[in-house]
């Protein structure tokens, strides 16, 4: 017998506190990967990761102690961590705190080819025009460099795994931007620097340039971008203050070329994303 009496047609954060669109006809909740029927406690589509003995099993038949936020990988419920903090050298504070002190470094000491196992190719000192004290901070132990050279002057941002994140000085405390750029760092950690520089960077640049001139083309849904957001979102334990302007999944039914990573979508979702220590 199917009966629901609660008036929850608008409120969409009921099930495991995750946002879910509720289909008014079926009463199912739509999550990233599958539809969930909360009345019978079963997923309505097979588990793409084949985690439990039954592909329709909801939270391992233990919904009190387990969650499955996407319809992919489920696991023990645990309280969400708070908003991630900035790390500035050895100083760590919550983002709600006051502005943090900067760390002074000499960029000429950086060897940008270290990630290739090489060395001795310093970045020219003159490349950076920001004040000396603005030249380097850290986000999750990754150096964040500020500059107003080239497109960085127009608030563009870029990430070089093995080197750091590059932003305009104004954005050095922009946590939404840094979370996204840190996602590119995670891509390199998970897929390797070679894949990042040979596949991710060219595809991302092509997509970004296309989006600048084509209003119907959404750069955020190119695989290089939303997968970076996905990794970062998972790394920070699905923070509730995530900026959805940086989508970490594809909209239901969205389709165009270039939205799926070359490794395949199901293999992608089976990746065990590193978590914030």
């Amino acid at each position: 017998m199917r009966e629901q009496k609660t008036d929850e047609s608008i409120y969409r954060y009921n099930y495991q506190a995750q946002f879910a669109e509720r289909d008014l006809e079926t009463s199912w909740n739509h999550f990233e990967l599958r539809e969930f029927d909360p009345v019978i406690g079963r997923w309505m589509v097979m588990d793409p990761l084949r985690q439990y003995w039954s592909p329709y099993n909801g939270m391992g038949n233990d919904p009190v102690n387990h969650i499955d936020p996407t319809g992919g990988e489920g696991g023990p419920a645990r309280p969400k961590q708070g908003t991630p903090s900035f790390k500035y050298g050895n100083i760590e504070e919550n983002i709600y705190g006051a502005r943090l002190p900067s760390v002074t470094v000499d960029p000429s000491s950086l060897n940008i080819l270290d990630f290739f196992g090489q060395s001795s190719m310093p970045i020219p000192n003159g490349t950076f025009t920001g004040a000396t004290s603005d030249r380097q901070n850290f986000f999750e132990s990754v150096p964040v460099y500020t500059s107003e050279v080239g497109e960085l002057k127009n608030r563009a941002a870029g990430t070089l795994p093995g080197v750091g994140i590059f932003v305009n000085p104004v954005d050095v405390n922009n946590i939404d931007l840094l979370r996204h750029e840190f996602g590119h760092i995670l891509q390199a950690r998970i897929w390797g620097n070679k894949f990042y520089y040979s596949e991710v960077v060219p595809a991302s640049l092509r997509s970004a340039n296309k989006a600048n001139n084509n209003r119907s083309f959404n750069h955020d849904y190119t695989w290089t971008e939303w997968t970076a957001n996905y990794f970062s979102y998972k790394y920070f334990n699905s923070p509730s203050d995530w900026d959805k302007a940086h989508p970490y999944s594809l909209p239901s039914g969205y389709s165009r070329s270039g939205i799926y990573p070359p490794i395949g979508i199901f293999k992608f979702y089976s990746i065990n994303t590193p978590k914030k220590p």
């Binding site: 940008i112 870029g158 590059f166 970004a208």
Partner: protein
């Protein structure tokens, strides 16, 4: 060889991987702490919303200002073109109301918000600076 690689990599960074449009600035001249969101229609669209914690973090104090960001060099122009009324639809929420009801969805359901519409021409005349007054 390595020098060439270095130049190529630095060039990649300075050609930009992610472009953003920060031209839109909102100034709070009210006495209340507010939160700002933009929509493709004059009626807020549920699926585009962030959680309440996002708005708490990005709250706008009285006399303070905030830059709103869209992805892409022409993000705001494309956003206006894409909107149903070809205007920027700016919704202002009161943070005190958000704290009380704990959900943007509830504020929308109860229509506890202020809506402003701006055409691209109006925004250019304002130099993309919107003042939220009393």
């Amino acid at each position: 060889m390595y020098k060439l690689l270095a130049v190529l990599i630095v060039s990649l960074v300075f050609s930009g991987c992610d472009y953003y449009d920060y031209r839109l600035k909102v100034i709070n001249k009210t006495n209340n702490v507010i939160a700002i969101e933009t929509y493709l229609d004059t009626l807020p669209d549920f699926p585009n919303l962030n959680h309440a914690e996002y708005y708490f973090r990005n709250r706008l104090e009285p006399k303070d200002s905030i830059e709103l960001v869209k992805s892409g060099k022409n993000g705001w122009l494309f956003f206006i073109e894409e909107s149903r009324n070809k205007k920027l639809n700016l919704i202002v929420y009161n943070i005190d109301s958000l704290r009380k009801y704990e959900s943007i969805d509830t504020l929308i359901k109860k229509r506890i918000y202020r809506c402003y519409e701006f055409s691209e021409k109006e925004l250019q005349e304002k130099n993309w600076k919107i003042v939220i007054g009393k």
